[in-house]
Subunit: 215 residues, 2 copies
């Protein structure tokens, strides 16, 4: 992943070094999520991760390197929700289950904090061009995973030929991000549910006619 290229070649770390680096990234991600990026100092991260300044600088040459590692960590976290737990999004049932998972996640945290990746966009995209590229890369990977499932559905005949998996994947990702933002400001998961359901209903309407007859 592009985000890792600048970050002290983490694949060459010892297991212990890797664990320390991961601890720093996880602590930074949580602090930045809770208090914004601007509200998180390197000192805060050191304290939360239990490391000293020299360890910090061993793994991250500057503040931007750490932020980029956080973006990579958040992007991977979102991909993991698609792949390991849920076994791909290649059926309407899987899409609905994924929808429930996202809604439940935000409901459980009272809709605070927003999307772990999307909430970084407003603060970083214009100030740090490299971070913007990393954020785009994270969304690209997420969208590609959604797209793959929709293509599989169409190839299998679960969607009509006229259905466009690429466009539907973009619409679904936008619904996730826009829906989470509205849920966050309202402290209510309802707009997220509605935004996702409207796109999922559209996908359901694109099933072959015979599938509709079985309802």
């Amino acid at each position: 992943m592009a985000a890792n290229e600048s970050v002290a070649e983490p694949h060459r770390l010892t297991p212990k070094g890797r664990a320390t680096r991961d601890r720093i990234v996880v602590a930074a991600a949580q602090l930045m999520y809770d208090h914004s990026v601007a509200g998180t100092s390197l000192g805060d991260v050191q304290k939360a991760a239990g490391v000293g300044p020299s360890q910090m600088y061993h793994y991250f040459e500057d503040r931007q390197s750490l932020i980029r590692a956080v973006i990579a960590y958040r992007a991977q976290g979102l991909l993991d929700t698609l792949q390991s737990d849920r076994g791909g999004l290649d059926s309407l049932e899987a899409l609905r289950a994924w929808r429930d998972f996202i809604v439940d996640t935000h409901r459980q945290r009272n809709c605070e904090g927003g999307c772990p990746l999307g909430s970084l966009v407003g603060e970083l995209a214009e100030l740090f061009p490299e971070c913007r590229g990393d954020l785009a890369g994270g969304f690209d990977q997420w969208e590609a995973a959604i797209r793959t499932g929709l293509h599989a559905m169409r190839d299998r005949g679960d969607l009509r030929r006229k259905a466009d998996p690429d466009r539907l994947a973009t619409a679904l990702l936008a619904a996730v991000e826009g829906g989470i933002m509205l849920a966050q400001v309202r402290r209510d998961p309802a707009p997220l549910e509605t935004a996702l359901d409207e796109v999922l209903d559209r996908i359901e309407d694109l099933r072959p006619r015979r599938a509709h007859a079985h309802r």
Copy 2:
């Protein structure tokens, strides 16, 4: 508007005072859009607006008062794009024209900066509860204006009875916000176009059968 309540009763200002206050808010909004809220000091705003500290504190008792005035200004700006220029969103043509307006606006600025209101969410919603409330109020007004147009379409028979204007308005607003965010990180208006078109196509599919026959 709730956002104005805290802000030194602007309706009691003289025309000259009102103009000075507006100049401060416009300058602050632009700086916060270009450099983030955290990256904008009160000194930066004073310099850009050509006012001194005493004028600043006359109109805004603290930093949060100024931020809230910026939110109110941004929310009103979005409402104006729906109401004065475009004459309401009560037809498919008006919705498509509004879609073109949003896409063109972001294309012209190379998709930089994001939504004037939405780009504030990530930075403010968790740190300033009153700002979160103001942001929610701004989105509520925007959504209500969209909803009004969709209700008019259904009442007039341009949408089937089964169409749900409230849900469609939420989905459309989420598509705007999620689509703008994806356009911003990719520096490409395509995801915004796609996200909006997928919801608009869904609305078009909800026209009465006879309308479809005329296509």
